[in-house]
Symmetry: C2
Subunit: 450 residues, 2 copies
Amino acid sequence: VTFELTRDYLDRFAEAIQRRDAEFIVSSLHGVDSADISNLLYEFSTDECKYVFEILPPEVNAEILNDLDEDVRQRFLENFSSEEVAAFIHFLDSDDAADILYQMQPKRREEIISHLTDEEKAGNIQDLLRYEEDSAGGLMAKELIKANANWTVRQCIEEIRKQAEKVEKFYSVYVVDGRDRLLGRVSLKKIIISDDKAKVSDLYDEQVVTVETHMKDEEVARIMQKYDLEAVPVVNAKGKLLGRITIDDVVDVITETAEEERQMMAGVSDDVEEDDSIWAIAKARLPWLIIGMIGGILGANFVGLFEKEIIVIPAVAFFIPLITATGGNVGIQSSSIVVQTLASSNIFLDSMLTRLTKGFLVAVVNGSILSLMVFGAIIVINKDQSLAVTVSAALFSVVLLASFMGTVTPLILNRFGVNPALASGPFITTANDLLGLAVYFSVAHLMYNL
Amino acid sequence: VTFELTRDYLDRFAEAIQRRDAEFIVSSLHGVDSADISNLLYEFSTDECKYVFEILPPEVNAEILNDLDEDVRQRFLENFSSEEVAAFIHFLDSDDAADILYQMQPKRREEIISHLTDEEKAGNIQDLLRYEEDSAGGLMAKELIKANANWTVRQCIEEIRKQAEKVEKFYSVYVVDGRDRLLGRVSLKKIIISDDKAKVSDLYDEQVVTVETHMKDEEVARIMQKYDLEAVPVVNAKGKLLGRITIDDVVDVITETAEEERQMMAGVSDDVEEDDSIWAIAKARLPWLIIGMIGGILGANFVGLFEKEIIVIPAVAFFIPLITATGGNVGIQSSSIVVQTLASSNIFLDSMLTRLTKGFLVAVVNGSILSLMVFGAIIVINKDQSLAVTVSAALFSVVLLASFMGTVTPLILNRFGVNPALASGPFITTANDLLGLAVYFSVAHLMYNL
């Protein structure tokens, strides 16, 4: 039943565009989901896509736009006049329309809104644009079905019939009082199985989870996931029903958050994809590489202070990579578990002290095991007891210190409102490299000069 | 409206358990979502939780169990007889029941199923247990509302009324033929606004996205996300309707996949959380640390081959951390973008050659910039031209090589069916450390001996 994009079809489609074969394009795309069409269009140039847009119905174009990657969409829309963009946006839900307009210059935004023929929609979109894009207000749609508590089920159904065209998907009817304050919800299931004459006030469920407009999108995601919600109503501080957020938008938030975190861990500073330009990719990677390089130069100058020791016992230099690598690994392991806990919904987090103690004990266990193994390996391979003592003692201290740094850094970042995941990236590796070198050469200095 | 877990309430609740004050417990938890109750119970011992379970209604207990962490749940359930567990499972949807039973020994599993009074449910659960846990079959629930295409809307509503008790949440009615083959779906909205006498065959939408039982859970997640679905029907190869997967289960799959990937990147081998035992945490971290350590020992022996060079020009040793750190950073950056592309839904991936060429060019850009900066820094700080040439030439080569390794490793892992995210962790760092050292000392050897 689903559309499968084959190389064959792609070739035929390309040919059809060349020959301006509108009939093939329209008929072969009939009934195909907009997500599939937008995937298909990624393979074509702007001009080719513009031609496809000319011959497809505007409501389909609107859905395709909605499914396109943000960057691609913005670039593509620059080829259309404000009036043309308004014609697409007319067919979108207010939240999807606002998402597109968020990315535009205020002047262009207002032009587009002024061309909207549906004044209610224009008002809704303008309302939404007032909220932060990454807040519940920025995530919600104004389209929803609400019923007054005094209505009967029949009146409810009448309202649904009236609204059905404007609200594409809904799972329940929100029940409000005369002042639009949210009282509860009735599921569609309940409406279907209830008598037409039943009063909404007797049917609705008061236990309804809500979010407030100012809430961060990640918090909304956490709540919807926790309570297994497919939609959540958005209210203001006075409990007035303003909109609703559906799970598909929240799934995107969850995916983006995970992606962002992964990029931070990988030391990529910007949102880049493999099909971006070489310069864009290089630029996104450079900042962390430079930070690492500066760390490396500082490290070199620090190690330089121990030039004498290295000349006398060059074997000390051999184990520099072991020390820095282990420090880096332990630091990332420790920070990542803290980041995970900070992101989870655990309410009563362990106190700072409990956490540090536990991290310390884990570090003692692993530090001891690793040190013993390295001690044995150096005795067997290098047959040098002082070296074995130096390296293993330094390794043990580095594991403890790196674990401490890895635990404390994300907590501090979090305290200052910075994304703690930043601490799982090259940041902690660079810091631990320097720290590791300091510990290692201090131990070596003590060992060989006493 | 939502329950807020305060330290105050927690203290009162603890006191109530001590005093066996069933009334306070039952009344204060009345109407509270099971997700909140399970969060609350994490703060108490097994015996205390058992007492709470004794006084709460079994359907609430079932939901609490469903919301508990898998590990915690399994340990907790060991305190109940098979008959008692069956009494909880009776109130769960088949997929949630199967999730609990998947974790148990086959004998215990069969005992519990044999105690189920609802034979249809027992059969459904046994059906589900036949599928892989991480497949669409393992993810689906058997509970759904289906209607024959020949029915009227009224018959549909009758069926919903009949099934309403068993199927907690549903968004559409699946339409089947006489042999249970899926024909399409009708949304609840359409049922509500259609005339009672209308035929289902005239209402249903044929364009319905389906998944097959053998599909991997991550593939199901990708499809539901792509098409913004709140539920997807599961069919077998012949198109027979077997179950449906709802978005809440898929949100969990998405979160778990992201979590798993993050752990791989952080070099934590097992699913551990901050509140696990010290030994469990230490054990989960040890394997990658040991691999890193073995890499470090190999590296030390490799650097040992260049003992003479280090004695003559100790400054060469100073820059070891710079070389290994940059190699590690570049490797992770390159691998992470490949992993991201492999996980995304892009259909026509760039060819291997295009990809390597692009990665190579990005590496040339960043390698040049970094090398120039390091060259300048060494000239200014160390005032040693040969050293500057050695380090910057080695750095440039290391950036190219690490980028190549970072691009190729995940592609190779993916080809062999191994999760490519593994390549973004300590694996690639260790390999790049060794590679970087080899390049660095080869360049140094050439520079100072020619």
